[in-house]
Amino acid sequence: MLTTDFALATALAYVALLFLLAFVSDRQSRRGRDRLLRSPLVYTLSISVYCTSWTFYGAVGSAARNGLEFATIYLGPTLVFVGWWLLLRKLVRIGHVHRITSIADLISSRFGKSTALGVLVTCIAVIGTTPYIALQLKAVTSSFQVVSSATETPVPGIVMQSGTDAGFWVAVAMTIFTILFGTRNLDANEHNPGVVAAIAFEALVKLFAILAVGLFVVFGIAGGIGNVFEYAPARSIIHDRELFGWRWINLMILSGIAIICLPRQFQITVVENSHESHLRTAAWAFPLYLFLISLFVLPIAIVGLAVLPPGSNPDMFLLTLPISANQDMLALFAFIGGFSSATSMVIVASIALSIMTSNHIVVPLALRLPWVRLDASGDIKRLMLTTRRISIGVILLLGYVYFRLSAESDALAAMGLIAFVGVAQFFPAVVGGLYWRNAASSGAIAGMSAGFFLWMYTLFIPSLSTADSALQALTDNGPWGIALLKPQAMLGLSGFDPLIHALFWSLGLNAALFVIVSVWSSQKPLEKLQSALFVDVFRNVAGTESKVIQRRAATKDLYKLTQRILGPVETHKLFEELTGGQLKLDQLPPLDTRYITHIERRLAGNIGASTARALVSQIATGETISMDEIIKLVDETQQVVEYSHRLEEQSLELHATAEKLRTANLRLQELDAQKDEFLSQVSHEVRTPMTSIRSFAELLLGTNALTAEQSERFVRIIHEESLRLTRLLDEILEMNRLEHGDLEIGFSPIQPEAVVDRAIDTCRGLAERNRAALEDGQRAGSATVLGDPDRLHQVLINLLTNALKYNNNANPLVRIDSRVAGGFYEVDVSDNGPGIREAGQIFEKFSRGRESSGKQGGTGLGLAISRRIIQKMQGELDIVDNGGHGTRFRIRLRLAEVTGH
């Protein structure tokens, strides 16, 4: 039989175990054996501080009232963790880089290290969290009452005097625990291993407790999962209500926001995070934890409703079900589970709030009071630690007082969600601050104040109304009876769930004001800098701001200041690091900007960014914030874009160059091939006469029986072939000189008609020998062109001889015409010969009109040379259409401008 004594003893033993665990972990950690404590698993488990006793007991109650809706409280965080890469990773990175100490510090630091924002966030957090702590105390007390009312034996000791006092003693025990293990050091980056170990342990206890009760209920009482849903209440709580409606959507969003904004969650997820990679594990392990802890909630609620007598408190089904089945040990385990979920929340929440109150309210205030002297070494550190310890006590006392005041009403039951909406007011500032450069502190202050006021008015005050008739009247009728201002039906917007109504108005106005005021106001330089550092935390390496903020400070002053906050030992270590081990305060030059920034950040990890800045600014002189540098920092994105643009251009240029090179290379290869071809053609051309010369010479040498006539013929052939060879070599030389520009071509006004006449005269003999008619056709009469008369003559002779020599017509005819047309002087040499099949190639070297019979003895260079000559005279030599038979060459020369010359 379970007795209250036994339950109480177990609870005490459990608390003692927590103390022991925290103590051992703390010692192990100080000896450097904290690998397990700094593992991703422990990190994940400690995040489950999200599951408070409100979750533990209340989820079953919620399921009994609203069915599946309870799951939204866990699905929202699941989604946030599943999408960890987008938000949580950035949050944790910023937490590490900027040594963030709390969510108030995050918001204050982001918006220009604003003191006002720090105070505002702290106030909202305290007001939102105190009732939540009260809720935990109430849950513990209620569970005690359930356990003790289940026994007949009178309860001795503290609980006996007044059932509700269990809450008091829990508060006292948790205060002691938190002060002992939660305020070991100031630095945000030096974690509280004792607390983390205790929280992780409690996470396991509550999970196993709820799983144990769940398994017992499903398989021990109901006899299988299928049977659970056969109970009558199953149908009514699952199907007889709107499931995926407005409340479903809103609660999911709200809980997703809460997992980011709840001070205790921020403390565990961001501040106590020892390594960013732990998020990788938490991303799936924490949703899995939530899944497991929710798995049996609905079955327990259904079975509780079905089995227990009507009117039983569904919030306590976890205890009353095992008790009704006489499973005392199981009930005790469930009780410890609920106890652990309450205590873990109380511990972490009070630590988070104490850091916020000391950093953002007490110390800034103390520093401003003229009679408070904090000049000695470690003074501020002592003040901070004392403040935090007192804050923890005060916060828990406030929670207890709140709990006692509202114990009679059922106001606390709804407190969980009300607190969610309260802390959700941080959300616009947090998300805007992380992703929106222009989010300004004035916007954050305006939005958050308005949101907070509306939250108080539409949700918090009505929740207290059952305890106070004046508040009741306000809630029912509106202030001064103005119905439009009724807290739960603002501007007549009624018919909504009060929670959704409040969420809409507070968060909506908050976000709207935040955006509008931010857009309409300008950021101060420091704010701009912080904005750039936060929004681009993944790109701007730590210490970038030292480029922006220029200031000087005497090393001695900085040392003193640091000593006041960190104490002598830490300070000595820090300065030795900074000065490279040569710590001589009086001889050091003033520390430069980089070190000052480093020290300020280090101090911020202890006392918050805004206080650290205020203190450093007192001793630093000549502070300037360079707008140019800020703009550079902000414009880095732009720079990256430009840089990539430049790269793109360069690559295009390279591409074009490569293309040109490729073309040039092809051209070279072509020329190389042409050269090879030319050489082989030259060899071939030289070979033919050489062969005949050699063979005839051999004949002459080797044969004695030659007649004089034969000898003479052979010698003549040798002579002719030699001439041909010489001519060929001459032409090759000439071609070469033409191509290399060595051959001088005259460029003076000449009378081409006279040259044509001379050429005709020269060729008459050849024409007669070939029995061809050389016809002088229509002539221009007179014209003046620029050129070289001898070279033009050479070209004409070449054309005429070709026309005469290769004409195999029965009545060969060669005709010359000339005319002046369109500023040009043209000479046509036409024949009635066989024509040229490949007109395009005839001007190539060694190209001949048809297969050379050898008889005509052309070198194949004549036309190529002719064309080069005419080109040198800036004219053209082409083949033109001759009406289908024969060939017509045309020389086209530009007329010289007729001047007095």
Binding site: L68, G83, W85, H239, F244, M252, W284
Partner: protein
Amino acid sequence: MRPEAPERRAGIHPVKSRPRETAALLLCLGVVLLFPPIALIFDKPHRLLGIPLPVFYVFGTWLLLVLGAYAVSRILPDTESSD
């Protein structure tokens, strides 16, 4: 360190090179599945394996998301080095 990490890093893994999109995709999947109107499809008085359909659906999706987050967390690049 996981032993398979270097091999995975060798090629350009589509998921690795687009971590933001991959994470957002899973999140969007969760939002679409758990919010109306998709969720409304499963708000029917049927039972599956003895469990009411909406309960089965919500918890099934939940488990799916956990598995998805596990898979994605293993292929996303190191957080320390990239954006």
